[in-house]
Structure formats: C-alpha cells, structure tokens
Amino acid sequence: MNNNEDKTLEEMTRDEKTHDERTLGETLRSQGISRRSFLKFCAATASMMAMSPAMIPKIARALEQARRPSVIWLSFQECTGCTESLTRSHAATIENLIFNTISLDYHHTLQAASGTAAEAAREAAMKENFGKYLLIVDGSIPLDNPGYSTIAGISNVDMLMETAAGAAAIIAVGTCASYGGIPHANPNPTGAVSVTDIIKDKPIINVPGCPPIPVVITGVLTQFLTFGSLPELDDIGRPMAFYGKSIHDRCYRRPFYDKGLFAETFDDEGAKKGWCLYKLGCKGPTTYNACATTKWNNGTSFPIESGHPCLGCSEPDFWDGGGFYKSISMPTENITKTVIYTAAGAAAAGVAIGAINRSRKNKAVASHSKTGIDDLSK
C-alpha cells in the first residue's frame, strides 16, 4: 500500500469535483483546517447543544460527509445588525468557516451581484434546490402597505411567500424576523409582523436577539447538516439548547441578587463592587438567551459583565417593556397620573354618593312617623 499514492489520488479526485459538489470536510481541509481543530469544533458544538460526548464522532462523520446546502438569505425591514453580527467576528473561527462553507446563493448585502442578476441567482437557486434549500430571514415584514419595503420591486411579503414555498426549513434570524422586533414596537407604523405570523406550513426556527449570537446560527446549521433535523424548540420557536435557560439563571451576579445587594446607579459603590443590576432595569430574569455562557466578541464578555443591565433583546416586544432602565417589578406605563386622576375622580364621586346618602337619610327621617298608643290599639 502506498499511502502517498492514495493521497494523491484522493486529492486528484477532489480537485476534479466542482466546488459545489465538495463535502464540508473537503472544503474545510482545503481551507487549511486541521482534523484536530475540526474535532475540537465538533466537541464544542456537542457540548453547546447539550449532546452527549458520544455524539462527537457522529457529528464529525456526518459533517465531513455533508454537502454544502444552498442557503437563500432574505433581508426585510432590518438594520443589517444581524448580518454584521454573523460576519464581523474578529478572528477566523471554525464557526465562521462552517458559515462560509454553506452555499450562500442569495444575500443582497453580501453578494456581488445586484439588480436583475441578483434576483436571477435567487430564482436559479430556488429552482435547482427546490424543497431542499434553507431559507434565512432577517427583518420583519410590513403588512400595512406592501410599498413600505420592497426588493427589486417585489414586496417583502410576496418574496417571502414565494421563497418559502420551496424551502426545507426557515431560520428567522434576529428578533425582528422572529417576533417583529423594533419595527413591530408600539405603534408599529408599518404593520410589521414576524415570519411565523405569515408562514404556517414550514418548520421555522427562531434565532432571536438584537443581534443574535453568531454561534447559535452555526449551531443550528451544524445540527441541520449533521442530522438533517431541526433542534428541539421552546414554545416560541427558539432552540432549547441555547434559549433553554434565562440570563438570570446563568448570571455570575446572581449571588448578589439572592442576597439583595443591588447597584442603585451606574457609578455607586454597588456598581463598582459588581452587584446585581436588577434595580437598573435588568431584564435577565425574564430573558432566555445564551449570552451569559457563550458571551460576545469571541467570548470576551457579555453586557452584564460590563455593568449594563440586560435589555431582554431575545424576547418578543422587548422594546415595549416600559423602558430599558425600568425594572421588571415596575408597571410599564406611567401609573402616577392614573392614581392622581382616579383619586380625584373617585373623591368627587364619593362626595356625590355621600350627598345622595345624606339626602336619603334626611328624607327617611322626615317621613318617619312615630307609633303612638292609638296605632297599637288599632
């Protein structure tokens, strides 16, 4: 057996394959990723997705064999923050490479083509991979007037319906696509809705966050590539592996919360000592996301670590929670006014009712007749 000959043969076959036919393993290797770091990635993914270590070789094998899936990415009413989050990692991570390995056939921010050529690419990808491609959506869809947001003259809702028809599954990236997000915030001027509000007959995975954590996307993609299946979701469509625990459950400031030690302002002693940010409006207790464990900026930290309360960005209507610096136990609306008006109104009503009671009493007294000896003898 001549190993060298084998290898050359393997390489030769690989080179003959067109780019699209290559498996993920081959692509990764051609990009200089060692087997060791690839396995490391698989292990990290398994642990992140709460799978047993026994799954690691399985993941590795399946991933290596996987073909690059065709992905169509539609951006509707969004700020491009989600795309930024996914593409602006500071170092080339493997997660990133997995992301690069998919065949991103349409993404109007990232693709070189524009106008008719771009639309043609989308249509071609849809036709070629009908029933098999992944559809990623970021941004909400305006329903009030289709003209509020269009791409190449096609309204968002039409494009979504058309593209969703042939999708194997849809990933709604970011809070806007998942739950309507900022465009949906009160008073929702465009009538913005989420993907789930429109598409009812396809598996939809919500990956909310403003923006969402990049590894959550690659985690979901990995699972899809490995097992051809979709992750287990919670009741609002989020992968349990990432959104199963609240920020508060995993927050390192939790002992301070339990002891009742809170920062009152952003620069008091409590803030300096790293006490709990509940009083500064932290939404950690009602927010389900992976920030506290996966962290941001290549695992540097997460907002609470830099002294800012959680905004609750991965939850529906996080923008309408009465203000980012209002704690959960406070009413969302201005209640003081309500109290004053009601008290004034009620006091007036009380006086009126009191007056009526009084006049009733006086009348009763006036019409009261005494029982005399004559009545008794009747």
Binding site: S246, D258, M330, I335, V339, T342, A343, I353, G354, N357
Partner: protein, 219 residues
C-alpha cells in the same frame, strides 16, 4: 399570547385597570363613611376626642388578655400573617421599586432570604387559619363565601410570589406575570369586601377611642 406578552399586559393595561378600580373603590368608600356624619353630641365633653382616638388606633393593635385567651389560635396565626404581609409587601426590593415608580419614594429593603422566610411562615399561618376556620364548628357556621374569597385572594399573591422567587415548574416571565396578576386580583377585590379593613381599621379604631375620650373614660 406569548408569556412575555402576558407579562407586558399585567405590567401595563392590567395594572392600570386594577389600580383604577382599587383607588376609586377605596376613595369612594372612605368618602361615603366620612360623609355619613355624626349626630351632634349635646353632652359636655369631658376629654379630648382626637388624642384618645389616635391613641386607640395604636393600642388596639395589642389584644387584651381575655380576648387573646379566648381565641389564641386566630390571634397568633393572624398576627403572624399580617406581619408577613407587611414585611413582604413593603420590604422586598422589587416591591419597593414598584412603590418608588408609583408614589415616588423609596426606603431600604431587607435581604431576599429574610423576606423569603417571612413568606414561608405567612403561607403556613394562612393555611393554619383556613384549617382552623373549617374545623371549628362555630367558625365554620359563621363563615360566608366572601370569607373564603378573601382568604384566597390574600393567599394567592403569597404562593405565586414564593413560586416565582424560587422559579418552580414554569418559566420566569409566566411566574412573575401570574404573581402580578394575583396582586391585581387582590387589589380589585379589596375595596368591595371586608379586606377594606386595611384602611377602615384606622377610622373605626379612632371612632371607638374618640367616643371614650369625649366621655373622659379610658378606651
């Protein structure tokens, strides 16, 4: 309705509705009582109404020996849960934040585990009270549907608060929302039931004391 929507509703419109009913109910009822008026007392005053009235508002908080001995059970358990109510409502940090938002003032809180302990003791006291009420023949005879309703709406905030604090069974937004909802129920029911005593006790105690004060006797 997602759980966050549920939470937003109880913190927003739900809280508004409950507050309006609560404030309106309490104000109208107190205004009614005050405006009932009293017949002019033609007898000569032998002492001050005001000081005796105010003193009685405080002194009636301590039961006299005989009354206490007659129903030690009710008194002890009743005391415990009233104290528990006071501590949990007014000294738990998140609650103080709510007061601060509504009335603009705040005060120091107790550590959460201390409030938690008060909650547990209060829950036990409330259960003891219910058991006693249901097992004592005379008490059961005197108990009306309203009494059970009043017990329930007082018990719910305690138990939902305890569960929410310890995050048992359900997820946090739902638990917190259920707790807030239970409090909204309590304050809606309050002005129209005997729970109104949380305000009128001052009036009735004062009145009792004032009568004695006028007559120059000890209340």
């Amino acid at each position: 309705m997602s759980e966050i929507e549920f939470l937003s509703w109880v913190r927003g419109p739900g809280f508004q509705i409950a507050t309006i009913i609560f404030i309106a109910g309490v104000f109208i009822r107190i205004a009614e009582i005050l405006l009932l008026g009293r017949k002019a007392n033609l007898a000569e005053a032998k002492g001050s109404e005001m000081s005796s009235g105010l003193r009685t508002v405080l002194t009636r908080s301590v039961p006299d020996k005989a009354t206490f001995q007659r129903s030690a059970y009710t008194f002890t358990a009743g005391y415990i849960f009233h104290l528990g109510l006071f501590v949990t409502i007014f000294f738990y940090a998140p609650h103080i934040l709510m007061f601060k938002d509504v009335i603009g003032i705040s005060w120091p809180s107790l550590p959460s585990p201390v409030v938690d302990a008060f909650t547990v003791v209060s829950i036990i006291a409330l259960l003891v009270i219910l058991a006693h009420r249901m097992s004592n023949t005379v008490l059961r005879f005197l108990t009306t549907g309203e009494d059970y309703l009043v017990w329930l709406v007082t018990f719910l905030p305690f138990i939902t608060g305890y569960i929410a604090f310890h995050r048992m069974w359900l997820t946090s937004p739902t638990l917190i929302a259920m707790h807030i909802l239970s409090v909204e129920l309590l304050i809606i029911v309050l002005p129209f039931t005997k729970l109104m005593h949380s305000f009128t006790f001052v009036l009735s105690r004062w009145y009792g004391g004032a009568i004695s004060g006028y007559r120059g006797v000890k209340s």
